[in-house]
Amino acid sequence: MTTLSLPVVERRRHAGLPPAVTSHMSGGRDQWSPPLKEAPVDTVQGTWDLLQEVLDPEIPISLPELGLIYGVEFDDGVARIELTFTATACPCMEFIREDITDRLESEHWIDSVELTEVWSPPWTSDRITPEGRAKLKKLGVSA
């Protein structure tokens, strides 16, 4: 996906136009760090750090900041993530699952990702972290 965006940016710069309107980078893909060279000592914390780079497909704050991640376990190369969605009719479920899996599986120390949907306790806006709240405020979105 990154290879696609480069020629676009190059062409547009040439044409003197503003940044491309594209959703290729949805989920924060343009901000993802390169994979770690070595596995972190604390793999659970390391997994949380990676999730911190995965943004909500609509609002540019991370999934942990939005309060969607309920738990992380790590066992023998398998990252197990418990997550919820803001609504049972969340239209972005599929994209969120895809973004988490793509980000985590780009690491050589993560062999696979298991996602478990959790609906209890249900998500409310109280679950948004202070950092997430501050970012939303900056964007002009109330929470």
Partner: protein, 313 residues
Amino acid sequence: MSQFTDEELMRKVQEGYMVEGPEDMTEGYRKALRVQLTVQADTELMSAPSYWMAARYAPSTNTQVSAHAIIQDELAHANIAYRLLEDIGESKEHLVYGRQPHEFKHPYGFDQPLDNWAELVVATGFFDRAGITLLTDVHENTSYAPLKRALVKIGMEETFHLRHGEVWMRRLSKAGGEARELVQRAVDWMFPMTIEWFGLPDAMKRHSGQLDFKLKGLTNDQLRQVWMASTVPLCEELGLNAPAHWDNVKGEYVLDYPFPCQYDAVDKHWAFDEGEISWDSVFERWKGRGPMNEIYVESVQRSRMDVERWLAA
């Protein structure tokens, strides 16, 4: 009424002055804003029945949810734009329920039927991309402050529509066979449809109140280029033929077909081989509206009077 003349206000907005309400506007500004907001509101509103009738082709409950979420967003975005129109003295009731189908100002593309899932996803990939291209420009450049604030959330929601379109275009293209053929066929009619949507070329454009009053920032040709700069590479990546290419010498995207050209709405076919036509014939086609115009408008308006009558009884 404004303390400025049109010329004074044009100069002030170019220098960064933001208009907050009717008291800051000249009549010229209000008229230009009314036209721009009406097109924006009608486009969002008419995308809803167009997508709604196509959502029945969704292949799973989850994709039904996604498709209907897009429709819900479009209706909400229309609501915001009509609400902004009310702020400058227009009636939402009249605009939504009091007009005849041909009086709506949405683009011709939303008068067309979407006949399968491939057409719906290319519509979200192409038409919503045109919408976000236009609205991003307005958000970045408009001198009308309430509109700028309203567009923050709208922009975020539209990126989900684009992604929906892209993900599904990729999936169907990769599948090959009939799925890929259907996507290509949708691209064949929707690419030129979106190109035409951006309107008259700059060289032919009469004076633009929207640009003079800085209600938007980019010209029609620039907006077409922005749209192509993300659409053409997407099609190339997916191995789909798009009738445009990057010209290194000109430093811009160039169309591979006569523009504008005639469209057969029954066969969903652009008559590239018949050559370039005049913009007057394009305006005539737009004015005649497309095959679904009355059906889409009727689907929005049909129950209003009945329910009003029941409630009044």
